[in-house]
């Protein structure tokens, strides 16, 4: 929901970045305020996944210029774990499997790092069990999920739901969802989308990175940005996504070139 008076959550200015010497982001600007849902669309290689990884602090990417402020603080100055504790959450396109560590243990360790960061005490394991179970319902997940190794042998849909479960527990200020819809059938997509909708509120913001307009049938964005060659070429509302679906990306790329 757009509200001009909302505080700014994320402010990206003229961001440039590279990996192994190859420039990927070439001057990206983005302003996200509390309560807003932004969708970033674009063809493969446009830099949208890179943007989400850079915001979360992936060490493989080198920022070469520009600034990123998160809630008024310099985000680029913080290691990945501090960004997470401060309220940046990245739902991975390809979540890692960690056999040997149960999902429940992983969630609790992660939750407690946030408690510690906020100066709260670590949660009692029994209270945590209750908290997790309430979140499981939101995502229609079976409690047996918790005793399995993190993402070990999970189907594509289970992995994505597990990412949203983590987001539900950590209650971030900025949720970055990197292709949370890829590989999902329509039923799984509905569950994931309703989870995201339930978590979005007037105090936080969501950044959806996606290839497909289909996701936006279930999560209504306030802004749709089209990325190409490391920049945002065009910004519009939901109608832009529908236009992209109908006409493809070429007209925007041509428009930018001319």
């Amino acid at each position: 929901m757009i509200n001009a008076n909302s505080p700014t959550i994320l402010s990206v200015k003229n961001l440039t970045a590279e990996i192994d010497g190859n420039p990927i982001l070439k001057g990206l600007n983005l302003e996200v305020k509390a309560g807003e849902i932004h969708a970033i669309m674009g063809i493969n290689g446009s830099g949208k996944s890179t943007l989400s990884k850079i915001l979360a602090g992936h060490p493989a990417y080198k920022v070469t210029g520009g600034t990123v402020e998160f809630m008024g603080k310099d985000l680029l100055d913080m290691p990945a774990e501090d960004r997470a504790r401060s309220g940046v959450f990245l739902a991975f396109q390809y979540p890692m499997a960690i056999p040997g560590v149960t999902n429940l243990d992983f969630l609790r360790v992660s939750y407690n790092t946030k408690c510690k960061h906020e100066g709260r005490e670590e949660i009692d394991p029994f209270d945590f069990d209750e908290l997790v179970e309430s979140k499981l319902e939101l995502l229609k997940m079976d409690p047996s999920f918790l005793s399995r190794g993190v993402n070990e042998g999970f189907s594509g849909g289970e992995k994505k739901r597990n990412e949203i479960l983590q987001m539900a527990l950590l209650e971030p200020k900025l949720g970055i969802l990197d292709e949370i819809d890829s590989g999902l059938d329509i039923d799984a997509l509905r569950v994931v989308a309703s989870g995201v909708n339930a978590l979005a509120n007037t105090d936080n913001a969501m950044l959806l990175v996606t290839h497909y307009q289909r996701l936006l049938d279930y999560i209504t964005p306030d802004y749709v940005h089209v990325m190409a060659d490391g920049r945002i070429l065009q910004t519009g509302d939901k109608a832009l996504a529908l236009e992209l679906e109908a006409k493809g990306y070429d007209w925007i790329l041509e428009g930018a070139a001319s």
């Binding site: 979360a56 992936h58 997470a84 979540p95 960690i98 983590q166």
Partner: protein
């Protein structure tokens, strides 16, 4: 070479620990053979014999520890395990010598028809250690499971040499050996499986997985399968890897700092073997150790 150490052990034999299970006896409580060295410069040569008669069952724990001893010493152990027809022995072998100790251990297992033997060998200590594990399946349809884990750091060297010999048809074996090597440590695995002509319908798998944590650590791994029989299933594999940057990042992105993330990933690698140990108190202690180990 290891025969020399076995002969040395035999030559100095004055007494031995003997566990003998009569026919069809199932012992619920685990039996623990604890070898504790407390004397500086000692040469300790323990000997054990475990016989599980037909239909009997036991959970055995052997531990090699050092009390408060900080100085060097030498352990040269030999354990013989005989599992007769349809018997079952689950054997956990915990080598937790002090960092200066030298440890040579031999475990020789003979299995009868339908006999089951499981070994969970954990190597935690010693400057130089070696475990020679030999299994001879003398009866058909015997089932062997060998799990091994070495946690190495500093200048330690740990060496596991195993041999599984199938002498009858329908034998089964599963082997998983894991090693984590940090600093300048050196892990060695040599796993030989021999399937002669008589051992048709053998079903064997062997996997050696290794994690290198430093550029100076070293792993040598050598699966060695010798298959003469023509109707068998034998799988083997060996991997050597490092902690993936993407895995560490995934944990960091959930608020876990890089040091704890690496610890957790190391723990996850190790715990698969520790989880095989059926004695809860021992398993919990090892899990706690693996969780906090740097």
């Amino acid at each position: 070479m290891d025969e020399v150490f076995t002969a040395l052990n035999t030559a100095s034999l004055t007494d031995a620990a003997i566990v003998w299970l009569p026919k069809n006896l199932s012992v619920e409580t685990p039996i623990h053979l604890a070898y504790i060295t407390t004397v500086k410069g000692a040469i300790v040569q323990p000997r054990a014999l475990v016989v599980a008669e037909s239909g009997s069952q036991v959970t055995l724990v052997e531990s090699f520890t050092h009390g408060d001893l900080k100085d060097t010493y030498f352990t040269n152990s030999v354990t013989e395990v005989v599992v007769l027809d349809n018997g079952s022995v689950n054997h956990s072998r915990i080598q937790w010598e002090n960092p200066k100790a030298i440890h040579v251990g031999k475990t020789v297992v003979t299995q009868g028809r339908d006999a089951r033997y499981v070994c969970n060998a954990i190597s935690l200590g010693g400057s130089l250690s070696r475990h020679n594990l030999e299994v001879h399946q003398q009866g058909s349809q015997a089932d062997t499971q060998l799990y091994g884990l070495s946690l190495l750091a500093g200048d330690r060297t740990a060496d596991t040499h195993s041999l599984i010999v199938f002498n009858q048809p329908h034998g089964m074996a599963k082997q998983l050996n894991k090693c984590i090597a940090d600093d300048r440590s050196h892990g060695v695995f040599n796993g030989r499986i021999y399937v002669p002509k008589i051992a048709q319908e053998t079903d064997a798998s062997q996997l050696s997985r290794n994690l290198l944590l430093s550029s100076k650590a070293r792993i040598d791994t050598k699966p060695e399968l010798e298959i003469v029989a023509d109707n068998v299933k034998c799988a083997h594999g060996a991997t050597v890897s490092q902690l993936e940057e993407d895995e560490v990042f995934y944990l960091q992105s959930r608020g876990i700092d890089a040091i704890d993330a690496r610890k957790l990933l190391k723990f996850a690698f190790a715990v698969e073997v520790i989880n095989q140990i059926p004695v809860v108190s021992l398993r919990d202690r090892l899990i706690a150790l693996a969780r906090t180990k740097d």
